[in-house]
Symmetry: C2
Subunit: 340 residues, 2 copies
């Protein structure tokens, strides 16, 4: 707001009418005669008038803005989600403020408050890895601001969610490998206490059972600390083909560090190991053709999340039950190069 911009009063004055009429005309109200409306719009264009939406928002108590917080914008899954959010919001006449928590709880808290200050009409977020409790979201709840958490699970009920179906994903991933002819399928999993990984593991087990493949504990590699787990994982792979002909990769942190380890040793994950992963993880480091799958999956999730949130904005008067939408995950697949 550097050069004092034109206001509705300027237009009104130069036309010898009242500013409220100008306001009505510019908002295309039908309580202004077509003639004056036309006159006003012409003058507005002539003067290069640009509505001050801050004042308008203040007055109307709505911002038509959705706040979005993701851990990291540059992660392809999230940038695709943002893309989907922005498109859907734009169509509905909403703007989007994008923030990244960089996986820090402290930043997340600060961002939530910024969004509150900005009176966003709704918040869509994927929580940071550091986030364990949800006290910082209380304010939004009190203010009755629609909020939705996507991709990452939160253990507290009461929020809207858009999530991937982990069990189904694990099941289908494993089934795919089995159908490819894999017999010794390793499973890279995450911290044992997290439901995400529990459910993926369940899917893996059920698929094996259904195909009479015995489940072997040692083929499941749980990881939390990236570096060490990656090494273990890499070593198992190096024993191939005695051990492993397929990998269901449900934890990229480990997979990536495994890759780094292998890279140092100048070994690529052999091309005749089939790999399947989830589309919301940065698995592209391991599997090359993952990018478009991730993009599609993220974009879809963003779109659905936004649609849900827009619905809630509309129903703001009506108390609605929190909703959870579970999507069938797209899988990222690298089939074995040798037909097994």
């Amino acid at each position: 707001m550097k050069n004092t911009p034109i206001t509705i009063h300027d237009i009104a004055k130069s036309l010898g009418i009242d500013s409220s009429t100008v306001s009505r005309a510019l908002n295309n109200s039908d309580r202004v005669s077509l003639k004056t409306k036309k006159k006003i719009i012409e003058k507005a264009n002539e003067l290069g008038y640009q509505r001050n939406i801050l004042a308008s928002n203040l007055r109307k108590k709505e911002t038509r803005t959705i706040g979005v917080i993701v851990p990291r914008i540059s992660r392809h899954f999230f940038s695709s989600a943002i893309s989907g959010i922005e498109e859907t919001a734009f169509k509905a006449g909403y703007k989007v403020i994008i923030c990244q928590s960089l996986e820090k709880l402290e930043r997340e808290i600060s961002l939530i408050n910024t969004l509150r200050e900005n009176r966003v009409d709704a918040v869509i977020m994927s929580i940071s890895m550091e986030t364990q409790n949800y006290n910082h979201l209380d304010g939004l709840t009190k203010e009755n601001t629609p909020m939705l958490i996507f991709d990452r699970h939160c253990n507290v009920p009461g929020y809207n969610n858009v999530l991937l179906d982990d069990f189904m994903g694990g099941y289908e991933a494993t089934m795919h490998l089995i159908q490819q002819g894999c017999k010794k399928i390793a499973h890279f999993s995450g911290p044992k206490n997290l439901n995400v990984y529990k459910n993926r593991l369940k899917g893996y087990k059920v698929a094996l059972e259904e195909n009479d493949i015995p489940f072997k504990e040692e083929l499941v590699i749980n990881s939390r600390l990236m570096k060490e787990d990656g090494k273990e994982l890499a070593q198992k792979v190096l024993q191939y083909p005695q051990k492993i002909d397929g990998i269901f990769c449900a934890n990229d942190a480990a997979a990536i560090s495994a890759m780094q380890y292998l890279k140092k040793k100048k070994v690529k994950i052999p091309e005749d190991i089939a790999i399947v992963g989830f589309s919301n993880e940065p698995i592209s480091a391991v599997i090359e053709p993952a990018l478009s799958t991730i993009e599609q999956s993220g974009s879809e999730m963003g779109k659905i999340a936004t649609e849900l949130v827009l619905k809630q904005i509309k129903n703001k008067s009506i108390k609605t039950e929190p909703e959870t939408i579970v999507l069938k995950p797209s899988l990222i697949i690298r089939d074995s190069s040798k037909k097994i």
Copy 2:
């Protein structure tokens, strides 16, 4: 703004003082006694007060917001740039509104106006492919809003720019290939009339000359229409190794469509062709390990752009000459697998 939020008046009333004192206290003015300040802040926390920044902005005529427009958020280079912009802006106490033009001029115009309505303090943008003239930016200029264009060139002087050094990039890319032992280096270029491609070609030529490698017209493949050019390109590659042992890829549109063509024919670009590309193009579709290079390059560009823009916001009173910053491009390299 669903449940009527607390205002400074509520705080004032419940403390039996005036709202202006509350305002001063909350803005940490030294014109309030420490005692009342403390009292006010306590009460504010107690009531869960959240400043209405819309009103504040309206009053102060500044938004501490930077508007960003990119063609497509999900493109890795741009999401990385956004990431860099957001981080730098956040540190300086600025918010960021992100928009995508989806390469459409019409959307770009609409977005520019939305940003103007929102009274952003500055705009950082990368223009859409459809954008040929810059009339839609006039409003910003008139309003004296700092604006910066990054990555994509615009032919009109007068704007701030952050760009890659195309000549240097072309030169270094080609030099790298030559040092790898390549003798027949193809160059995938773009529309002949665009300076970007002219300069990259110049770099290519100079590098060849310096190494006494004759320049051959037929190794330069200009492309505009994606599909057909991709096919031509692919066919040249398929004639390898009679023809080509290295590619300086300066136009991904063509490269990607070439890849699609080759994929249909179940051919990968042979591993013993070395490829070099620019970090601001979606070359990751062609070269696998490009992601981190692109991320770094984008993030750096975003950071530098934002720093420049922040500087300009500060100097708003002082008329400054438009600035152009030219960065040395990072290259994306896939060396030949057979040592030539």
